[in-house]
Symmetry: C2
Subunit: 559 residues, 2 copies
């Protein structure tokens, strides 16, 4: 990636939206980006007419570390919305009947979106095309969401994370939700799902999409249920299609659709400890039982495909029967539905629609791998998108942790995107701090998975941070971390002085016990004497010991 | 376990200690236990003259859930120390030359400590004896720490966690450390290591041991280094043995001893990214290089065994060459040292000393299992005791999470005890909140491992909590969680009213979207009609749909 790099100018043309007066100024109340990421700069790889954003962290005495960045354009007013990056590419394809990335990939066409992704992921464009063509990856990119910066979800690429936002009847405002969107992408959310179920559902979504540099997902059945005043039995396929059209027109990039909740599976949940815990799943179960009919999302699936392909909205086939506790993991209902999702995947692919598959949920560690293996098999390697899984049920208040454990593991096994869980899971709606805690926990899980998969270059950031740690470059250590302000403030608590940030020790051990300091001298001595193999040791250690003593024998640095 | 149960009377005889005036009252400033664990009570299984503590959580409409409890006696004054539970058993063995649990186990003797552990773990006493006799488990129980409640560390038993406390020259007081001890055991620490390196090291330890219901571990080389004013080259085996004796006399239950840092391994660390990161390891490396001699802990190991067996202090063979970053994981230095630890294990066993083996550190997920497999092989199945491991290096401030991921996995693979990591790791000394955050993260990891191993009864708490969640018994859900006050306060943030604690919905979905509520009715319907297999479904769904409609067809509960 030797393309020229320019700094962000932040002065893209702005455009007015029709909602300009309704959003409050409080949504712009975040701390300046540069304060939260000291010594970082945003730049672009400029190549073949593309400008692909990244973040570069300056490091003392070393090359900057370049990071994948989901922040999107800085310094824009939320009332203006983001610049329409993809508009020219979309316009150039205007008139195509099936403007999906899958359609183009299958034709052998590498779209600008695919080239953008290839630069972003540091891979060949042909790999991007081939993985999309095979259905092993998706590039969610509604033609009506030109503000999005293209990204890819597939197991040959970096593991992605999703953050859920959205109001409910009891809480939250539009401004809060836009604020959460920007906050989530600042800390690293690769996609955001708007799960609003409360007031102003259409308008909230409009604000979110116009301000989102990442793909937006929704669960359209929630809005459908609003339209029938909460009476699930009054839902119809026509109403559903009308709602999909409304949301697709706005620019939603992927839809969770619970088409796998077939009538026959519902009784299989009866003896579960926690039955059906998916909202969409329970709505469809109610409809099926009431009418004693097959799920209309299943019977009407081809019509849904016809609609989605016109906008290139990707399917996120919902796991309406996912387990809600460890006791229910990997049961007949869950795996039955998974098989149906595999069947639907093939139908969607027939229509050139992009597809990913949603997965659980609550699963003890020893049952996680079976989820991944079965999904790859019965869903024909379509990308897997899991919620956690949570590896125990006993820690409400800490489910970002119980689920990050399962998420890291299933990411390693091959899951392409991890849906975050916040500390408030099971307890309440996440606030700003909860969103950040969830995103950071999932950046940890996704990155741990990238490391375990041996993703090229994934360890560069770890190694740069570890070198900084070893040589007491505290500021570099903070700046390279996932959350620089938190790392710095924790260091401040015991050693607040600025001088401590250059000290060759820390409060854990104090100046006389520092193993890092000792080992640095061990290393210098050994390296100078070629002590890197055992033969050398056996031959020469006696001499070296004398030399070591002659040199003063003091391995502690003077501090 | 049908033994009679009594409530805690809290009125054990108290005894004075010689340090009565020196500890401040602030150490007793914790919230009352009953406030933090509502609807919990402490009780005892009384059986064969033993009184084995547990915690019982009362649950609405169900049997209480009985939990392993590490809190120790409540309501005692830290200036008095804890009651000397084990004193009569120790006195009865007075005069034995080798009063170690391993010695007795090998003789076929089931000690009161073993019986106590068997009741606590809900297993047969013979299993406890056999696992100790085989070296696969240890029961750390210095004859001079009669205050401890016996516990066992081995992979056939519940996975345990250790919390580190201890002051350093730059921070903390004795009162703070005793407070941290009580705080850590309240939240579930199974052992505590006192890693003090600062002032008053002997006295701090005395206070900690006299007030500890759990085994206490130390790293004696730290105190040795204080005695030689920080000059590692002045360390001697005699000084070390003298320090071991001092600490063994006080009642330390296990010693970390870095006897595996052999001269030949030191050069293998020269090309590492972070060299030697263990304090004890670096101290011994410095000594070895200075003298160009083999580590005196290795050459003097049999003398150390002779001393430890007199007190039944267990070995925790230290991994002085553990990796300090992902780049250094599983390298020649680390695995070389591990082989030496295996060799030393056999020597310790020859002396009837109990042994566990310390492990890493920083290890990416795909390299974790190799650590466990090799340890079992080369250390002859002695219990493994690991620090994390941390699965990525990029998250200072969140290393309780990066390490809980690795800890859960290695616990599943067979590690017997997990050494906690707090959010302050790499940044500063943990305070009270950090200790709690570390303990909770590790209770999650250990419990997740117990579930994955299929430990008998481990899922009872998960299932009880999940049933409470499903039926909207909010208080039961909080009370059964690892941290009831946090779970409750998070629920309060969006739905503060007491009425909301009995509501059949929560702020996530609001009253009209509740999947739990829907599925409850699905279940009732299905169960009533015998819909639990597909044949029944095919035969009878038409009739049931009619019935469902006739019954009102409203699956949402009235709220």
């Amino acid at each position: 990636m030797n393309a020229p790099v320019t700094n962000l100018d932040g002065a893209d043309a702005r455009r007015a939206t029709k909602h300009a007066t309704q959003i409050s100024d409080q949504a712009a109340a975040q701390a300046p980006w540069a304060e939260e990421f000291p010594n970082s700069s945003r730049g672009f790889v400029e190549q073949d007419g593309l400008r692909v954003p990244f973040r570069a962290v300056a490091v003392t005495g070393e090359a900057p570390v370049r990071l994948y960045d989901t922040t999107g354009p800085l310094d824009h007013d939320v009332r203006d919305g983001l610049p329409r990056l993809r508009q020219p590419w979309i316009d150039a394809r205007r008139g195509d009947a099936t403007p999906t990335q899958l359609f183009y990939a299958r034709q052998g066409i590498i779209t600008p979106e695919m080239r953008f992704v290839a630069i972003r992921e540091n891979v060949e464009p042909e790999l991007v095309r081939a993985e999309i063509a095979a259905g092993r990856a998706i590039l969610p990119a509604n033609i009506n969401h030109p503000e999005s910066e293209p990204m890819i979800i597939g197991r040959r690429f970096l593991v992605k994370i999703n953050a859920n936002i959205g109001n409910s009847v009891v809480s939250s405002s539009i401004a809060d939700e836009v604020e959460k969107l920007r906050w989530a992408t600042r800390w690293g959310a690769d996609t955001v799902m708007d799960l609003s179920t409360g007031r102003d559902i259409h308008q909230t979504r409009e604000w979110i999409i116009r301000n989102s540099p990442v793909p937006i997902g929704t669960v359209p059945i929630y809005q459908c249920l609003e339209k029938v005043q909460g009476k699930a039995e009054n839902l119809t396929l026509d109403l559903f299609l009308e709602t999909l059209r409304e949301q697709a027109e706005q620019g939603v990039d992927y839809f969770t659709i619970h088409a796998g909740v077939r009538l026959r599976y519902i009784p299989l949940t009866a003896k579960r400890v926690t039955g059906i815990v998916s909202r969409g799943g329970s709505i469809m179960a109610k409809w099926c039982l009431h009418h004693h009919k097959e799920n209309f999302l299943y019977t009407g699936f081809e019509q849904i495909c016809e609609l989605l392909k016109k906008y290139d909205v990707s399917f996120s086939l919902g796991d309406g029967l996912r387990p809600g506790c460890n006791a229910d993991a990997n049961d007949a209902a869950q795996f039955g539905e998974l098989e149906t999702l595999g069947e639907l995947t093939k139908i969607a692919w027939k229509h050139d629609c992009q597809v990913m598959i949603e997965g659980p949920g609550h699963v003890p560690m020893h049952l996680i791998k079976e989820n991944m293996d079965r999904q790859l098999e019965v869903c024909h390697e379509a990308p897997f998108y899991t919620l956690g899984p949570l590896v125990t049920d006993i820690a409400p208040g800490y489910d970002h942790i119980t689920s990050a454990i399962g998420a890291a593991m299933i990411g390693w096994y091959g899951t392409a995107m991890l849906c975050y869980v916040t500390p408030k899971e099971h307890l309440g709606l996440p606030d700003r701090d909860d969103v950040k805690a969830g995103v950071i926990a999932y950046k940890i899980a996704a990155h741990a998975a990238d490391l375990a998969k041996g993703h090229p270059g994934a360890r560069e950031r770890d190694d740069a941070l570890s070198r900084a740690r070893f040589t007491f470059r505290w500021q570099d250590q903070f700046n390279l971390s996932l959350d620089p302000p938190t790392a710095r403030s924790m260091h401040d608590e015991t050693l607040p002085a600025d001088a401590a940030k250059t000290a060759h020790f820390c409060s854990m051990c104090g100046p006389h016990f520092c193993s890092m300091s000792i080992t640095d001298d061990v290393r210098k001595l050994a390296a100078a004497q070629g002590l890197s193999d055992e033969a050398a040791v056996a031959a020469g250690m006696e001499a070296k010991a004398a030399e070591f003593k002659a040199a003063g024998g003091e391995l502690y640095r003077a501090t």
